[in-house]
């Protein structure tokens, strides 16, 4: 069984670019601040519906925000 790659994401950078706090982003995604923090730090992988909400909020494709490590060396 292949070892699962750690999911990485650009959420923190995208949020910082917009000068949003974790709490402000959480409100827009209708989740808790802890959820945003867990996603940003890679401790929690969002579900597909939440990943789509994040993509829509930043007007980006999911794979432009999340990286499953498939293309990492």
């Amino acid at each position: 069984m292949p070892e699962e790659e750690e999911m990485k994401n650009r959420l923190k950078v995208l949020r910082a670019e917009r000068d949003w706090s974790q709490a402000e982003l959480a409100v827009q995604l209708d989740v808790s601040r802890q959820a945003v923090n867990a996603i940003e730090t890679g401790k929690y992988d969002p579900s597909l519906p939440l990943a789509f909400r994040i993509g829509r909020l930043f007007d980006m494709k999911i794979e432009e925000i999340f990286d499953d490590g498939e293309h990492r060396g």
């Binding site: 000068d19 209708d30 808790s32 802890q34």
Partner: protein, 156 residues
């Protein structure tokens, strides 16, 4: 800039307060109702037990094992067995997926406390190596382990 963003966010709070999403507000509101319910049950039980004037040093034991009036036991059992599940059912509907996962992991840990802890204790008690199973201790262990795992998964 930040202030203007907060003002645009639905459900934004008073200036200075951390904004909370609709699901978090609903979550906290239902937890508060659970707290009120638990507090009312605890207060009613304490008043009932203390009114029997248990001997000093036996208050804690009387709170857990002491007899209760039938009407009070039935009312509290209905609150715990019928009202609390309704609040819980609603809570599961409103919480976000991260909270749901933290709760699930806490519940699984609690399940193992009961599913493993109870038979192990029961077997050792039958051999005289442990005192008989104590329901309050087992239930408290379940709550503590579930709560710790939930908190770790949510706030780590």
């Amino acid at each position: 800039m930040t202030v203007s963003i907060v003002a645009e966010i639905p459900g934004a709070q008073r200036p200075g307060a951390e904004p909370k999403s609709a699901s978090v507000k609903a979550n906290h509101r239902l937890l508060a109702w659970s707290g009120v319910l638990g507090g009312a049950i605890g207060f009613a039980m304490a008043m009932s037990v203390l009114s029997t004037r248990p001997e000093q040093g036996n208050v804690a034991e009387a709170m857990i094992y002491g007899p209760l009036p039938v009407w009070l036991a039935v009312v509290m059992a209905l609150l715990w067995g019928a009202v609390l599940p309704v609040i819980s059912w609603r809570w599961h509907q409103v919480v976000d997926e991260h909270e749901r996962e933290a709760y699930r992991d806490g519940a699984v840990a609690g399940f193992y406390v009961m599913g493993v802890g109870a038979p192990v204790w029961w077997l050792l008690a039958r051999a005289g190596l442990l005192p008989p199973i104590d329901l309050a201790t087992l239930y408290a262990s379940f709550l503590i382990v579930s709560g710790l795992v939930w908190a770790w998964r949510k706030y780590r």
